[in-house]
């Protein structure tokens, strides 16, 4: 069993909080884990990605080979397309449709969505809207993780446990908000897959 995930976004969008939750879930399940992060210059509003690999067997490469990722999990629609060469033909593209525009030549939104729809297996949702409607704008990243969760070979309960551990310091309220966000993302994916 293995799940290879490319996490994508823009520097400052906090994709490492998703990575931390997945990491916790992997530990819960005694899985091997490798997670290659991007630090430094790109964190200043540039394109950022993180390769995460979970397996019940030892993992060698910190980087996912091209064409073999099971999931691209992106918190920004244009960024989701940047890593398509890594996605396996059987893989899932899971992306937030909320754009992050910090460049002048940002492409047409409709065309972006068309490209995403061309990707075969995809889940596209506006996680910011979903999170806002629940009254917790800051938990959009957990909505995204929930939307990708059906495609992990990790029990859903482990993600919840991950959230409980990671947000424990911030109190029950924050934990619950993030758990709800996770569930909301999960529901969306189950209905739209």
């Amino acid at each position: 069993m293995k799940t290879d995930i490319v996490l994508a976004g823009v520097g400052g969008q906090g994709i490492l909080s998703i990575a931390a939750t997945i990491g916790m879930a992997a530990l819960e399940n005694d899985l091997y884990l490798k997670q290659a992060e991007v630090h430094g210059m790109s964190q200043r509003g540039g394109a950022v990605q993180s390769h995460m690999r979970l397996s019940d067997q030892p993992i060698y490469s910190d980087l996912i080979p091209k064409g073999s990722a099971d999931i691209i999990l992106s918190v920004e629609p244009m960024e989701s397309l940047r890593y398509l060469p890594f996605l396996s033909p059987k893989g899932w593209l899971v992306t937030n449709t909320k754009t992050y525009r910090n460049i002048n030549n940002y492409p047409d939104e409709q065309k972006l969505l068309e490209e995403i729809e061309n990707c075969g297996q995809y889940i596209a949702l506006n996680a910011n809207d979903i999170a806002s409607n629940m009254g917790s704008r800051r938990s959009s990243n957990m909505v995204m993780l929930g939307a990708a969760s059906p495609f992990f070979q990790v029990p859903f309960e482990s993600f919840k446990e991950g959230i409980r551990k990671i947000f424990a310091r911030k109190g029950d309220k924050v934990v619950n908000v993030n758990l709800e966000a996770l569930e909301a993302g999960r529901d969306f994916a189950e209905k739209n897959r």
Binding site: A36, G45, P65, P85
Partner: protein, 537 residues
């Protein structure tokens, strides 16, 4: 012992602490920064009184570590690859002095230049200094090597270089800890002339360094990190160094790897093991991250002419970091790429943050310089380097830490006046101060803009040695007080800032202009906010 989920950098830090380290010395630099930050955040380090403050630059860090080694304690010094250029003088000479307490030098290379100006390979420095090099292939080895590195250093009586590359430095995985060792008691070197590199003593030390190449190579031959794995098919032998070993194994999970493999993670190169491979195999493929270091060596020392494949014959790419696909291709394994990136996807380069003080400083500078011809602004290493990109396109150089000041001086010497330098506060105290002294001594017609944000921002907001003492430093170096101008870079102040810059640029002597406002990324750092208030900045 417990298992931790650690970045390669953090594994080095934990390994060093568990291995009895008494002090860590460093200047921040991607991808090495997290080593020191991990020790700074460690409760254990605090309880044990392990030194963990940032140094002014890599050279001062290396020298302080050598001083700790002189005193019989175990010291580690960490930097990014180009930091080793700054620290090259004490590094090369520390091999001649040798050590007393164990000394580990960690250099993190950045192939693909994710956050650097070149992709130099630190192994050449290790070879140049004639000291052992450890190159971990995974996070566990990073821990183990830092843990055992001090003993290796003490046994061989030289500093040991630990080389990381970005991918391992910034990738997380499970690491099992070992028993914690106490720090050394400390004590002076047996020979109090050991560290006196007068020629008369240095010649003896150098001879000892040459002689100890034999035990160093023996240590490589016996190293648990260098493993010769026999194979069935000797048409090809494979040498895989450091992290490259993982990329090799990644490609042979579903199919057997029939060729013999030399997994190589400790240098000097173990000639016996390598000669065995050259003798047994028709061809040898070298897979290594960085420059073709091993490959070039092999071409030099082999007795029979076994063809060597690698980066020099194009089997592997000559530039950039390795990945599993590159290595697969060297074996003719087809990589099945996913879909191509759609054409509508645009580049998203890094940019200065919204509300950043550097932005307003550049707006003012561009206006002040609009009356002159272009191409007279020399800059430096930091967030403000992003001023090279649109919409500012405000700077014309970025070479190395501190080069803005001295290049501006050299250009002024050549007649390019006015000539302007843009440097950050932390970079200025790293390597800009001595250059400013040069300017003062000749009263060069230069304007030095020190964009002061109270931090080392690009690497994540570490302390700046310049905090609260910038004007005094400049005055102390001899800049006239009336030509040190400080202001707050905000939109509102644009006209005033532009006027000040205009005046100082027009002044035909050394002037220092300091746009000063706290980095917005550090506003959550209560201690810093408090300190800034205290200093009245």
């Amino acid at each position: 012992m417990d298992k931790l989920l650690l970045l390669g950098d953090e594994a080095v830090a934990q390994g060093a602490m568990d291995g009895g380290m008494s002090g860590i010395y460093a200047y921040p630099g991607t991808p090495s920064t997290e080593i020191t930050e991990y020790v700074q955040a460690s409760k254990y380090a605090q309880e044990q009184g392990i030194h963990r403050q940032w140094s002014a630059n890599e050279k001062t860090a290396m020298e302080a570590a050598l001083g700790m080694s002189y005193s019989g304690k175990r010291a580690m010094v960490c930097m990014k690859h180009v930091g080793l250029n700054v620290a090259a003088d004490p590094f090369i000479n520390s091999a001649i002095t040798g050590v007393n307490g164990g000394m580990l030098v960690v250099s993190a290379d950045d192939p693909s230049m994710h956050s650097s100006q070149n992709e130099q390979d630190s192994r050449f420095y290790g070879n140049f200094a004639m000291v052992p090099i450890l190159e971990p292939s995974n996070q566990q080895e990073a821990y183990d090597m830092a843990y055992a590195g001090f003993e290796l250093s003490e046994r061989l009586q030289v500093p040991v270089l630990l080389r990381l590359t970005t991918r391992l430095a910034h990738s997380r995985s499970g690491v099992a800890r070992r028993d914690v060792k106490p720090q050394n008691q400390g004590g002076l070197p047996a020979n109090l002339r050991q560290f006196v590199l007068l020629p008369v003593f240095a010649r003896q030390n150098y001879q000892r360094l040459i002689t100890s190449q034999v035990p160093m190579e023996q240590a490589s031959a016996d190293s648990p990190y260098n493993q010769y794995e026999e194979g069935e098919d000797y048409k090809l032998g494979i040498i895989a160094a450091g992290i490259a070993y993982n990329y090799l194994k990644e490609n042979f999970q579903d199919q057997a790897l029939k060729h013999p493999v030399l997994k190589l993670s400790q240098y000097p190169l173990p000639h016996k093991l390598i000669n065995k491979m050259l003798d047994e195999c028709d061809q040898v493929l070298v897979i290594e991250e960085g420059y073709p270091f091993i490959e070039e060596h092999l071409k030099g020392f082999q007795e029979k002419g076994t063809p060597i494949k690698g980066k020099l014959d194009g089997s592997l790419p000559r530039t950039g970091e390795l990945n599993p696909n590159h290595v697969g291709r060297a074996f003719g394994l087809d990589s099945q790429e996913g879909k191509a990136v759609p054409e509508i996807v645009q580049n998203r380069p890094p940019a200065m943050c919204k509300g950043c003080g550097h932005i307003e400083a550049y707006n003012a500078l561009n206006q002040a310089l609009s009356e002159y011809s272009q191409g007279r602004v020399f800059s430096d290493i930091g967030c403000y380097t992003l001023g090279a990109l649109p919409p500012f396109e405000a700077i014309n150089s970025c070479v190395d830490m501190g080069a803005s000041v001295t290049m501006a001086k050299g250009a002024a010497d050549a007649g390019l006046t006015p000539s302007v330098a843009v440097i950050g506060d932390s970079t200025f105290t790293h390597s800009g101060m001595t250059g400013l002294l040069d300017c003062v001594l000749e009263n060069s017609p230069v304007t030095i803009v020190i964009s002061d944000n109270f931090t080392t921002a690009m690497t994540g907001g570490q302390d700046s040695h310049a905090l609260g003492r910038l004007e005094r430093i400049c005055e102390g170096l001899g800049v006239e007080r009336e030509h040190i101008r400080v202001f707050r870079p905000t939109k509102k102040n644009l006209d005033e800032m532009t006027q000040i810059m205009r005046e100082e640029i027009a002044y035909e002597g050394v002037s220092v202009v300091i746009p000063r406002r706290q980095c917005i990324q550090t506003m959550k750092n209560k201690k810093l906010v408090e300190r800034v208030k205290e200093l009245g900045l």
